[in-house]
Symmetry: C2
Subunit: 196 residues, 2 copies
């Protein structure tokens, strides 16, 4: 019988998505080093042939998963920030959104813990910059241009804040009381305010 057009591309896309989904689940649960390719392809109901057809290897698969996670976090941050017009409120709500989003277990493990170690810090930084850190840099630049923040080099400040929030997210995910989030936020707010 006549094959329906697009069968090829649809199947390819489906397999790739299943692999990404299962890999993300397993990486989030056991960590990068704690799960083997055999387990990933088994849970995806495919074989290693399929995996190596879609990805260059285990690090590349992890990178794809990481990019997906980062994209989600960045989307949440941008969405929260875009709800406001005032540059200062855009920054603060964006930071809060990042804090809450990054506390999720898979984000925490994949993006904050394994990411730098697996891909190397510079690669991880580049991906983070392309995803969510870019928003932070833009927000800070806008605030300096608007005269809200004192003129100063943006990069160091952005890294300090980014690192502070990453560590805070890791801590919050473990200490997990809602009161802790408010304490972190209070201190972070004062930090932001200090640069005003």
């Amino acid at each position: 019988m006549a094959p329906e057009p697009g069968t090829r591309a649809r199947q390819r896309e489906r397999t790739r998505r299943v692999l990404l989904r299962e890999a993300r689940r397993l990486f989030a649960e056991h960590g990068y080093g704690g799960v083997g390719l055999a387990r990933i392809v088994a849970d995806s109901a495919v074989t290693k042939g399929a995996l190596y057809h879609h990805f260059e290897g285990k690090p590349d698969l992890f990178r794809a998963v990481l990019e997906e996670v980062q994209a989600e976090v960045a989307d949440a941050v941008a969405r929260a920030a875009d709800a406001h017009q005032d540059p200062w409120e855009r920054l603060t709500t964006g930071c809060r959104a990042f804090l809450t989003a990054s506390t999720a277990p898979d984000v925490r493990r994949i993006m904050l813990m394994d990411g730098p170690a697996v891909l190397g810090w510079s690669t991880w930084r580049a991906l983070d910059e392309a995803a969510s850190a870019r928003h932070l840099t833009e927000a800070l630049t806008d605030l300096v241009r608007a005269g809200v923040l004192r003129p100063q080099p943006i990069a160091p400040l952005a890294h300090l804040l980014s690192g502070a929030m990453n560590e805070a997210a890791l801590w919050l995910a473990e200490a997990d009381g809602p009161a802790d989030l408010e304490d972190v936020w209070a201190a972070l707010s004062r930090m932001l305010e200090s640069q005003r």
Copy 2:
């Protein structure tokens, strides 16, 4: 002939120190996943039997190396802080010492990049707390008690500052201009000042 007393313990200690030294060198250069036990024992001029006699496995060996690195950093921080009496100056000089010490390649790779991924964040946190973060917590507590810092929960602030400095150290190790260190320090100083 009569064996000199203490031969046993001396040989044991010597083998252990060689293993730690070579493992630290290799972990720092290639990362935890980038070096195998075969290479470590070969460079140490022993066999895997010796390694597994002294350590429980590869993660345990890494943990021992990490503790050594952390102890050195903590010592540098404490030494710098102890040169001052004023609590505020103790904090600032301690932070500066941490920044410069953590920029060293082996510290950066072992303590800041691989540490959390290999041992898990909570384990890493516990070790860090026992080593250098304890000084930060103490300094902040003293400042609150002295009325220099506003009364507030210490833990969130300590984590924010620790994360900020860790990330800054990673960045400084790469951007490596001495001017960048001053920029980071200026922004960090304002952050500290903000909590005053």
